[in-house]
């Protein structure tokens, strides 16, 4: 399966939900928010959201800004 993660093409074998994806990148405990195809997915739904072929996933965090 192929999808886009923060603008980069990413390939994985087999099914993957958002929760497992974040674990792979050691982000499960970090304060992040996720949008898939421009729709925000609440943290409570990470485990329920199965990533689909071609999904565009954005994982964001708070940074300094004005």
């Amino acid at each position: 399966m192929q999808f886009e993660l923060n603008g980069e093409v990413t390939r994985v074998q087999g099914p993957l939900n958002l929760s497992t994806l974040l674990e792979r990148f050691e982000l499960q405990k970090r304060r992040v928010a996720v949008a898939v195809n421009e729709m925000v997915v609440p943290r409570s739904r990470f485990e329920l959201y199965e990533i689909h072929e071609g999904d565009r996933i954005e994982v964001i965090q708070a940074v300094g800004g004005g």
Partner: protein, 259 residues
Amino acid sequence: MSGSYRLGDIELESRLIIGTGKYSSFEENRRALDASGAEMVTIAVRRVNLRERGAGSLLDHIPPDRFRLLPNTAGCFTVKEAVTTAQLGRELLGTPLVKLEVIGDKQTLFPDTTATLEAARILVEEEFCVLPYISDDPVACQQLEQIGCAAVMPLAAPIGSGLGIRNPINIRIILESVEVPVIVDAGVGTASDAAIAMELGCTAVLMNTGIAAAKDPIKMAHAMRLAVEAGRLAYEAGRMPRRLYAQASSPEESLIEVR
């Protein structure tokens, strides 16, 4: 100091809102924040760097339980980008507040007024507490108020320029045109600029570079705190009328005579 004010449902005492960008470290940022006395800080949302995840987090130094976090949509050039960024900011920080920015031009960072109005409409509909960055345009400010924004935030000069209050007349007209709080956002370069904004009657001042790019950001943060307080007090006190000619302060009668 002189009373609290409200942004939507949120009550604030400090009339200084500061940014968290451009500091040399999280520690410096936090020290400047403490020196400024600000209760509310702006925050940007950006992609997590998936290769370098080790760096500390801004929120470790600016804990959300101690400060009001105001996520922004800085860097967004379209309605869709701004709306999605606002939604992500709300999910990330658990706040309905959003500093809405829809930029129309890369060099000046002036806002795209049409897009800002459209994005504001969508976000108000989604029950955000929208604080829009906008040109010092009284008509646009009235329209944003009509849409239901909780405040209007006209620029005083281009973002990061430090050029000060370039058009105090327009800021005054905006103050007379809307009933929601007017917050000068962008352009403040030094303490006197902040005082001028407050003396005009603005509810608050939002700044980032004016503090972060000072030689000593912590000292400047303190200066800004005092300037905002002084400007607000002067506004409430009501300044004396300007006169063209002198008027003696000491009695003009009973002077001694010398021969």
